[in-house]
């Protein structure tokens, strides 16, 4: 990568939300703000290689996008105005750092009057700056479908007059929840891509972590934000070890722990400790605690399964006995008490409708069956998991489990 394209990629990740959020103040139209932001990055692509990277790339991009917006608003206001203007309530206390443009944008995209699908699509496109095509690929819909979804969502913001604003303190807890869910969903979608050749989609994971960092920076007192950032950092820290140099999937027992980003793990654990000191355990802080037990264990053999099983029990309570949590707890039980115990716990879940198409249940059963020497049943489990998995790296792993046995 050349220095210029690196600077541009950097500016894309770091400044996109700020550029768009500021431009929206001028256009009072998210569509138009998106277009001007896109134009500013296109202009950077053509002028930076010639004139050099500006000293403050974010300020440069904001100025270009803003000027373009002013120009368009002046020239085309009468022509293209089809939708009501974005409602921008004045800040409750002007100059408050809390009243940040990026926060306005995030809370608008994740407004509870928008469906979860729309919240996620808008956040990925407008806040993280992914193209509509990238968002479509990540969420397994066609590009025209995603483009239509984004258009409809922006139209709803305008016509229902969802305010371009940070919620007042009394509404914060309620309004923060969908924001954190959306950031978490963006991360998990990128952490194990639902489909495609690569296990990871770093555009999504990096975007989600950057967003969580921004939220934490702007809302340092919000413990659930701190917990979410901790969770993302610790999980992401293991990325480099999750695939072998030849692209094969490496499961936790086989990962080279020296490849983990231990600085990032330490940062995540420190944030988690801080969050737990200030706030009762929440779904994200307990998930982060589980990730931290793994991340701080010197080896697979020395994993503290007692602690992990205990944490999953807390998580089950906090999530209203989520079937996915029950599955993870059963797997942890299997590692603590042996494969027969794990299998018995998993068998209780096979009738669970929410897990009917969840490949990890079949894969986890197959793994315990294999350890118990029940190879034919194990193979049937791997076959079932394979039929439910569309990620290439995971498919290869499941296939290799089947082949290893057939060739021996």
């Amino acid at each position: 990568m050349t220095a210029v394209s690196e600077a541009l990629a950097d500016a894309h990740r770091r400044d996109w939300a700020q550029v768009l959020a500021t431009t929206a103040q001028v256009t009072r139209d998210l569509d138009l703000a998106e277009e001007c932001t896109q134009d500013a990055y296109a202009q950077a692509l053509s002028t930076w290689p010639r004139d050099g990277v500006p000293a403050r790339p974010g300020a440069w991009l904001t100025r270009v996008a803003r000027n373009r917006a002013l120009d368009l608003v002046r020239r085309e206001a009468a022509l293209r105005r089809r939708l009501p203007l974005l409602v921008i309530p004045p800040a409750a206390t002007p100059g408050d750092p809390w009243d940040d443009d990026r926060l306005r944008l995030i809370f608008t995209c994740c407004h509870p009057a928008l469906s979860r699908d729309n919240q996620v699509a808008l956040t990925a496109r407008l806040v993280c700056g992914l193209s509509a095509a990238e968002v479509a690929r990540a969420f397994l819909v066609s590009e025209p479908t995603m483009a239509a979804r984004l258009t409809r969502a922006k139209r709803k913001i305008a016509t229902a007059r969802i305010p371009y604003a940070v919620p007042p303190p009394e509404a914060l807890a309620e309004r923060l929840e969908p924001v954190l869910e959306v950031v978490h969903l963006l991360f998990t979608t990128g952490h194990t891509a639902p489909v495609g050749p690569a296990l990871l989609r770093t555009d999504l994971t990096a975007g989600a972590i950057h967003l969580a960092r921004t939220l934490h920076l702007l809302m340092p007192a919000a413990a659930p934000v701190t917990a979410l950032l901790a969770l993302l950092l610790v999980n992401d820290a293991r990325s480099a070890a999750r695939t072998a140099p030849d692209g094969r999937l490496m499961l936790l027992p086989d990962q080279d722990r020296t490849l983990w980003n231990h600085t990032q793990i330490a940062e995540g654990v420190a944030l988690l400790t801080d969050s737990l000191r200030r706030h009762p355990p929440s779904r994200f802080s307990v998930e982060a605690a589980i990730a931290a037990v793994h991340a701080e264990s010197p080896s697979w053999e020395r994993t503290d399964w007692d602690e992990i099983v205990r944490l999953y029990a807390v998580l089950a309570r906090l999530t209203g006995n989520s079937p996915v949590v029950a599955l993870n707890r059963a797997v942890a039980l299997g590692f603590r008490d042996g494969p027969a115990a794990g299998l018995a716990a998993l068998d209780l879940l096979t009738a669970e409708p929410a897990l009917a198409t969840y490949p990890y249940l079949a894969a986890a059963r197959a793994d315990f069956l294999r350890r118990l020497g029940r190879v034919d049943e194990a193979d049937a489990g791997y076959e079932e998991a394979l039929a439910l998995t569309d990620n290439e790296v995971e498919r290869q792993f499941l296939t290799s489990r089947l082949e290893r046995r057939n060739s021996s």
Partner: protein
Amino acid sequence: MAKYTLLIYGDSARWEALTAEEREAHDAAHAEFRAAAGDRILGGQELEPSPNATTLRGSTTSDGPFLETKEALGGFYMIEAADLDEVLALAKLLPEVRAEHSGVEIRPVVDHP
């Protein structure tokens, strides 16, 4: 400012089964909503239950509502507000939001010039 219609849906049978005290509490909650909304309320009515409706489609006149559903339109308000959050805060005062058989649908009104 923009106009919104709050469409109140629910199970007519349940509304008709309200005891005198429940009805009183229900009406008091509406009075509280109207007091909070003040002159932002442009209009609103409680509707007679849907069996009393008459529907015209093409050349036929039929007895009953346009859609035969368990949860029927029971009333509406038209209000004026700066944005959706202002409407949401007001609409939460309506008793139909809290009762489990009913709910309130908020629809922005088309602004015809």
